[in-house]
């Protein structure tokens, strides 16, 4: 049976990380960068050029939008970004796809270990 994820291309790493960061709440650009570093345990670092190039694409596609202004005065000048409903469903489709990949990988690793001859 064809699922929705079969019809859509996989997200790039940067796009996936940005959507994941925004799934936790509205953030400004630097907040997204810090959140990506935090949830990837420092393995993935976004530069501002990569971030805004991807944010532009995501906003043009309607997956991310400008958030209403923050109540905090120190964040007054900062522009916040929020995940739209379309963005949330895109992230959910990608997570389903990755789950299938991980499941398949686990099965293959398991069968590899079973068929492997034991050392004498």
């Amino acid at each position: 049976m064809r699922t929705e994820s079969d019809k859509t291309p996989p997200l790039s790493s940067a796009t996936l990380h940005i959507l994941l960061a925004l799934a936790g709440g509205d953030l400004h650009g630097y907040g997204i960068i810090q959140e990506v570093v935090r949830h990837s345990d420092g393995h993935y670092k976004l530069g501002p050029g990569t971030l805004y190039d991807n944010l532009k694409k995501l906003m043009d596609a309607g997956l991310v939008a400008d958030a209403p202004k923050s109540a905090s005065p120190e964040d007054d000048e900062r522009r916040f970004y929020t995940l739209t409903m379309a963005g949330r469903s895109a992230l959910s489709v990608e997570v389903d796809r990755l789950q299938r990949v991980v499941g398949e990988a686990r099965l293959r690793l398991q069968s590899f270990q079973e068929t492997r001859p034991k050392p004498i």
Partner: protein, 179 residues
Amino acid sequence: MNRPDFLRSSYRLILRMHPEPFRDRFGEEMLWIFEEERRRGKAARLLFDGVLSLLRQHSTVEKAPEPVMAGFGLLDTSLDIAPRRFVEAGITASLILAGFLLLLGKTGTPMAAAACLPGVAHAAPRLLQAPSRIQRFPEAASSSGPRRPDPGQVDNAAASAVRIVRAQELSAAGYCSQQ
């Protein structure tokens, strides 16, 4: 000009070279993030990111936004590249990088320049170490003339040549049968 000022000026220059719509929309925020990272001493790597962004923005053809029917279905993750703009952006980015490396090299910190570029980071130290290697192994450096063959090899070659000539003589004299 000290190093932080030089980095900031370089980043501002890179931002100024971005296409106007992109710069107007995100330029100020990019500069703010750069300043935040600079305070933490991690600004140098952002220069490379800025140059990559410059390349991407100039090589991507601006398209009118299309209506999104099923949310993420129409998200285009590939780049639409116009060859001429790609070449222009490549030349611009190369010139900026070359200038950046040259300037840092002249100020006596070529390693810092190399550290900014992931690809160069591995190659540059070897290039920089080349003179010290020559000093460490003077005998290797002095043997720049033509290499002299091993005397044993010369003897073997001469013996082979003699054997071939003798075989040809015997063949001509009819001592060897044709196979």
